[in-house]
Symmetry: C5
Subunit: 354 residues, 5 copies
Amino acid sequence: MTESSSSVSSKSGLPPGTLVHVGEVLATETRVSVFDYTRERSTEHVAKSIDDVTQYRDTESVTWVDVEGLIDVALIESIGKQFDIHPLVLEDILNTHQRPKFEEYDDYLFLVFKVIYPAGDGVSVNYEQMSILLLNDYVFTFKEKQDDIFESVKGRLRNNKGRFKNLGADYLAYAILDTVVDLYLSLQDYLDDIIESVEDDLLANPDTVTLATIQRIRRELIFIRKSSVPLRELVGGIMRSDSLLIGDGTLIYYRDVYDHVLRVTDAVDTHRDMMTGLLDIYNSTVSNKLNEVMKILTVFATIFIPLTFITGIYGMNFEYMPELKWHWSYPVLWVCLILIPVILLVYFKRKKWL
Amino acid sequence: MTESSSSVSSKSGLPPGTLVHVGEVLATETRVSVFDYTRERSTEHVAKSIDDVTQYRDTESVTWVDVEGLIDVALIESIGKQFDIHPLVLEDILNTHQRPKFEEYDDYLFLVFKVIYPAGDGVSVNYEQMSILLLNDYVFTFKEKQDDIFESVKGRLRNNKGRFKNLGADYLAYAILDTVVDLYLSLQDYLDDIIESVEDDLLANPDTVTLATIQRIRRELIFIRKSSVPLRELVGGIMRSDSLLIGDGTLIYYRDVYDHVLRVTDAVDTHRDMMTGLLDIYNSTVSNKLNEVMKILTVFATIFIPLTFITGIYGMNFEYMPELKWHWSYPVLWVCLILIPVILLVYFKRKKWL
Amino acid sequence: MTESSSSVSSKSGLPPGTLVHVGEVLATETRVSVFDYTRERSTEHVAKSIDDVTQYRDTESVTWVDVEGLIDVALIESIGKQFDIHPLVLEDILNTHQRPKFEEYDDYLFLVFKVIYPAGDGVSVNYEQMSILLLNDYVFTFKEKQDDIFESVKGRLRNNKGRFKNLGADYLAYAILDTVVDLYLSLQDYLDDIIESVEDDLLANPDTVTLATIQRIRRELIFIRKSSVPLRELVGGIMRSDSLLIGDGTLIYYRDVYDHVLRVTDAVDTHRDMMTGLLDIYNSTVSNKLNEVMKILTVFATIFIPLTFITGIYGMNFEYMPELKWHWSYPVLWVCLILIPVILLVYFKRKKWL
Amino acid sequence: MTESSSSVSSKSGLPPGTLVHVGEVLATETRVSVFDYTRERSTEHVAKSIDDVTQYRDTESVTWVDVEGLIDVALIESIGKQFDIHPLVLEDILNTHQRPKFEEYDDYLFLVFKVIYPAGDGVSVNYEQMSILLLNDYVFTFKEKQDDIFESVKGRLRNNKGRFKNLGADYLAYAILDTVVDLYLSLQDYLDDIIESVEDDLLANPDTVTLATIQRIRRELIFIRKSSVPLRELVGGIMRSDSLLIGDGTLIYYRDVYDHVLRVTDAVDTHRDMMTGLLDIYNSTVSNKLNEVMKILTVFATIFIPLTFITGIYGMNFEYMPELKWHWSYPVLWVCLILIPVILLVYFKRKKWL
Amino acid sequence: MTESSSSVSSKSGLPPGTLVHVGEVLATETRVSVFDYTRERSTEHVAKSIDDVTQYRDTESVTWVDVEGLIDVALIESIGKQFDIHPLVLEDILNTHQRPKFEEYDDYLFLVFKVIYPAGDGVSVNYEQMSILLLNDYVFTFKEKQDDIFESVKGRLRNNKGRFKNLGADYLAYAILDTVVDLYLSLQDYLDDIIESVEDDLLANPDTVTLATIQRIRRELIFIRKSSVPLRELVGGIMRSDSLLIGDGTLIYYRDVYDHVLRVTDAVDTHRDMMTGLLDIYNSTVSNKLNEVMKILTVFATIFIPLTFITGIYGMNFEYMPELKWHWSYPVLWVCLILIPVILLVYFKRKKWL
């Protein structure tokens, strides 16, 4: 778990509206990539100043401003001013402990949610907060750090074909959101594989490592659920929204994303149920093993303790023990020493212990 | 479990609308059977080309196009084009990891759900995705592989009697859906039998095999529930729909299917509760057995350990041990060796251990 | 449990609307009792033919047709035809695996539910499906077998006094439903008694029989709940219905039945909670007993094992063991043999084991 | 638990509307106290006949008729007739197994609920059914037995000051209901104290008595919840009611009662959660104790069993055992006997058992 | 836990509307600080009399009256009279066992909730009831004792800059509420740290202290949840309110607070799930440890018990035991004594016990 609910209140004490970047700072610089495309062409460059961002405002084209790294608060503040974004929205973009949500404003839609992907080692999961601002023909995305999760979207923009030609900024926002939801689905696949191997371990040789893995998966599922259930509300909110910023033709694509988010939350619930089941099995198996161990101990002990007692008797040094003198004592004793275990074993057999 | 939630995201990275068959490919060919019937007659043939499918478009008859095997993407794409189906619907038909759902379009209704049936070995269950497209006088069904689950529907079409004569494509779609829901009910019967035998095992001789079976059933129930709860919403959606494609006279039949789906989800919940109960009993039984084993060990050990100690004393080789010389030592000792167990046994009897 | 969810799908494969009696056939004949009454008089006879049933159609009187045993499908079909009942309703009457439900039709109301009562042996419960058809001045009841659960209603009809005089067929249907709900309440009383005796057993001497009883009660409660929760919806549906077949004056009686059904479902939930509590207590008690057993074993073993070791030392046959020759060795040893247990017992006392 | 859900159906078989007192009869006589007050004066007497009750019908004053003990069915029936109360309401008053509920009639409101208070011995709780009939200027209360829970209300009436002067029968009904809800709150305080002492026991010395107390509290909470959740609905129903019998000025007082009932149901839920937590802790503690016991047994046994084995070897009587003759055998053996435990103890120390 | 649900009913018996301070009295004096500010200036003084409070009534300025300590009931009563506050509201302010709630009155809004913060020692949490009265240009806050949790708000007032200049009393109330919600978020951070250290303990060396900590955290979470869930309803109520006292421009700030409260309740649920997980792991770990201990005991006992038995045999004193005379008996015996453990160890190895 790299995202904890820790530091949820790091800004406490500051007046609302003060722009400060709150979060585990993951990036040392802020990179702003600008994509501008129309039906015919697409251009792409890295913005050096706020003017590079605003230059397409009066064109017909759709512009995607991809902000990676939130360290440059001043830049984000100037974007906010230029595009007339409410200060509380800018605050939410910069404070990376937001609950996923969707907010409608008159001139733009604001989406904030978590991007999640496997951390690569074991079951732990990386969380990154991402915000989308959807304006009339601008889409702003804000991510905590640079990575290539939107390479496929960018590739399709560069090829400039498919539906991007005909549909506007709302379709672009959809494409971005769809990519994020696909990451959630990939993560569920990833967990599927891990859970399958845990199940195999459980049958083969359950140990404390298995237990620790079960616990870690359950823990991650709590956090994934915490991210994905509000994401479902978020996409549902977009579908129910009557904002003009989402065209009728694009709505069906959001419905498709909604189906995918439902599959994510279904999968999370399924995995939670499965983990509960696995923990039950783990505990039952441990109890079973204890039983098995105790049975063996009991069989050994109950067979040999009486025998040892008998040998103890004839190891005593009393002067007057007639049996010690009898010639057949020793063979008779051996008969006893063999008969007693046989009787006990038959008894245990009947008790279904062996 | 043959259907896993694995590969939920296999298409991730591709632009939406790209038609690719996603799923464990179960079929090596695509078989298209076409049934065309009116009140008076019914014909049936295997379609070789898209023209065989479209030829009945301008007739009054009802046409059922049963597509088995989704390998021939081109064919499905051409059906989509001919009948003006939205690309996202075609995608959902081909991607077999859909969540069951019902979608209304202007000219057609789209249903996608899982067909489930016992795999034949133990408790595992087979899942197959199936889609229905209900047009004005066309019904398309898409299944992942060839099988004979609709033989009874086809038989009734061939006999061409009963309500099929009077009711249109909506009734055909109902008949297909009803057959699928009956498979869900059969599966619950099947599970009933397995659960009953597990209960018998639990009383007779609970072992780790019983535990594994309980776990497998619980696991399957998670997946069956995952398929049947959205199926309930699906049928409920049809009932609430005001689409003209479902006639008023047919609606009552969908209400009947809805009752059956409610019975399925009730049965799944009942089975889940029963499995939880059985696992509780399993665990309690294992604890009980441990107790029983420990009591026997304790009785044996607590009786013989003191006795062995006594024999140990008189097995010592001290030169000055007066008891060793006394003539009655040995008989007196035997009295002790008999009295001690008797006292302990009475004590245990009072403790209700024996 | 005599009602299982088994055979839920026994009709699968048959076209809908085919009338077949599905169920564990409990009756070998179908008995049709006809009660006809007005404010002034009441008559009662056993119907031999369909005409005996239909003869009161044009009178002002209220007629109750009580059909016991569903073997005579032809008769039920002819009733259906005479009174214009939808074939799917007739199917539901004959198929005894219905989920309790209430359906409004233009000319009649249809109620189907379970009658439950203790089977008389232990905790098992008998289930019988019952249907009510409420027409304008006809009430049809269909039961799986002959019994006398409605004797009290019939007695009041014979006496022909009380509200029956003034209120119509809707009041009769109420009286029948009320009797059924009272049976549910009786069953809860019955379970109360059983649960109380289980609680006593749990305090006195919990054993595997107690565990089995707990499990059987929990199991029955799952099935009772499965019958009673939809029954609540059923009666709620009648209350909310705006059908003219239920008079305003009778509605308050249905509200009274609704209160009783609420008490049933409350009682079921209470019993479920209590059974969960009892199972918790059972498990905790078993753990406690194990602890107690282990303490005794541990006290015995830890006291005697060191003592036996000491006697073992002086039972060795080394030639050069000076202690063996000393005169006071044996008494000194006895002091040790007494001191060691005393010290250990004090230690255990402090650990609060004794 | 003095109120059980037993006898829920004692009246089963009787026609609805037959007035019979059903319940554990707690009173041997019916006492009817009548309070009549206006802004200026208040009078108070015990009614001997129905006329004593009805005499204030045509005055402006508010009259409270407090019926304690339900044995005198005839009296209650005559009240019902005089004030035109529906027979089903009278039935509900007399049958003390009602689910708490609120019913609106044209001329009066009917409230039935449970009064609960600690039974005084341990954790058990007493339940008494109480009904309120609120007419235009009459309030009837029906209790199962005589007690002084309304002394404070009566005292305020006698002093004839405060809001009673200005507000009518609806305020009186509020004052009575408020007193009852305060009893629920007191009971929660009472349970708080008991739970606190259970927690202390759990830390100090958990035993089967603690377990039994936990179980009894959980059981009582099930029943308290069964009474208080419908009470919440009841008060909520009054607030939502648009009956003219509740004045606008009084409504705010009912909102206050509603807040108190919410606190009751919150407290019940909190206590339930706490009891679940305590049971978890109990079980974990028992497991811990078992572990501790087993560690001590294991340490003792694993140390002394090898040692005893060694002494056993040199206790054998073989003629040719060279070690027995060696002079240093015995001292060397002692070195072993000391070294082995030391090694084992170091091992156990590393395993963190000591 | 310093706030218990104890004394929930301390006022029971008193007539409603009697003003008495109910609570663990935390303050010995009542301190009333008055802040008065307009766009241009802000003044601040400690009120000595009610006149100091009311003097700003006819000005345009916003006045914040911060009442710390509820001991001076007379003062609060006179505020109530001066500002025409309903007596039940005053009661709720003084009785510190309120459920958090929001109430709209014609001329003012009433908010009551809990302020929570870590008690500083271990996991325990301090609770303080706080009420806000929002009038047109007055804000009253009532706290149980003096502290400095609003220092930051006061500091911003003193600086008299930011949004305070432009927005009225509703914004001040928001700022106060926001500060309180930030305290809830801080507390969750605090719990995060504690839970993390518990997790580390659980992996390193779980003992009864860990268990006690888990239990205390779960207990605190029950109480925090009890405070924060109604707080969510409270803020939601403000958002849905159409009171003119909350300006449109301020509403967005309340939405921001609502998001924060959602994060609090999410965090509480997450922590509850995590604690359940930790308890599961604790129990599984304890079971595992027991298993490990029992395995070691069993291995030791099953190896040495048979060996000791063998030595017992040859320690017997029978006169006719031929083996005792044989020269090679002793070496042969040693071979057995070595072989038997080896065989057993191989067996245990195969059983995966070592």
